[in-house]
Symmetry: D2
Subunit: 136 residues, 4 copies
């Protein structure tokens, strides 16, 4: 992805990118795509009725990840309170989705991979949040 | 919108819709559309440089509203903790966006209308959150 | 929704809204929400394995509807070729989704309602496309 | 991204991934993020009034890229006609956005990078479309 390169050219950033935030953005898009794919694969599985909760958490997590990726990308003006609360919401969605996917990881490789993507995204969001100002 | 009618036919809902949640969903889509439109109108204004913060908050609020609308729509399985935290995130985005839009409401009708949509969405999300179980 | 009211205040629109386009925007958000809800209800049905194709078309149609709603909302600059091709893509997605939902309409009310929303959205997009310039 | 790895585990795919389609998915997410970032940077530029058309094409292109990424990800059931028309719509959006960004590439690095991402995405979608069945 061109994330770091293009955000670095924003007139208010001038190369001073926040590396943790850049990584969180990329993890959000990766995790969102993985969650769409895991939901889709679960819907195609024979035992789909046992995967309903996984599909639900996948779809909700995907929606939050894409919103978080967009919001963490913007640098014009400021909206740090929203970046923080959105990344925290994303961490929660990733954690719940990873926990559910983990239960099916031995039966379904897509659940194992999706759990991995969610855990990685949760960590990246956590590290990005720690770089934001302490207020709020 | 068909929101109430279609959610009422979900096999786990069987007509027992949560009216406050239905209203929050519809407000999220309305507010998301208004925020996209206000950002677009601000970009077209002569004094666009003074509307940068408004555009930023509009775009972030739109992303959150659409994610919230989708997440609050689903009824298969359960994900109440995420519905709650997403609606709370949406309330925050709406409040900040309404406050900024309000500053420009006398000069720009789209900011006045957008502030109104954001306030209405914030209230609907607040009322929906109050109907959710108290435990996470 | 505030669609007409807010687009009418865009500095380049000045009250001269395209009514067919306004209606298409609102139908896109309505249809997108119905498709998310129908997919979710199908996933919750006992006979989910027979509804896989319906779920797939629902989810794809929802993604296209929300993109179309956003794109048809903007008025700054011009992008008529993209509005046209996006609405045409939306018409196709709505037609295919309505046809599939129709097959399940007698067994599942959500499929009947979703087919209705898709047909209404397809028609609104068709009428909006006819108001756009003939070039391209 | 985990795109190839996770799609390869879909029960109907079983490792037989379409490489051109995988690449198109990843390019869609990359291009969508670049377009959000370029729009945001343009809004922050001194000469924002001269970048209005660029911002418009960026935002429309981003919406289409994310819809295309999601739709091209799914493998349950079949929806090839929609994958094709959505990728073609994406190619058009990428071409128009790249052409506009190119005009500002010497003044603004973000426009140069975004044009590059759009061109790369257009090509990847073109190659993916060529792998799809010839009907329609």
């Amino acid at each position: 992805m061109h994330t770091q390169e293009i955000i670095g050219t924003h007139p208010d950033v001038k190369g001073q990118t926040n590396q943790a935030l850049i990584r969180a953005i990329e993890e959000c898009y990766d995790c969102g795509q993985s969650c769409i794919s895991c939901a889709d694969a679960c819907i195609g599985e024979q035992e789909v009725t046992r995967l309903r909760q996984c599909i639900r958490l996948n779809l909700d997590c995907a929606d939050i990840c894409f919103a978080a990726g967009a919001i963490a990308t913007r640098r014009t003006g400021s909206n740090e309170e929203i970046i923080r609360s959105t990344l925290e919401n994303c961490m929660l969605a990733c954690r719940l989705c990873a926990d559910e996917c983990q239960k099916h990881a031995q039966s379904h490789e897509h659940c194992r991979i999706c759990a991995e993507a969610c855990q990685s995204c949760e960590q990246a969001c956590q590290q990005a949040v720690q770089t934001l100002g302490a207020t709020h």
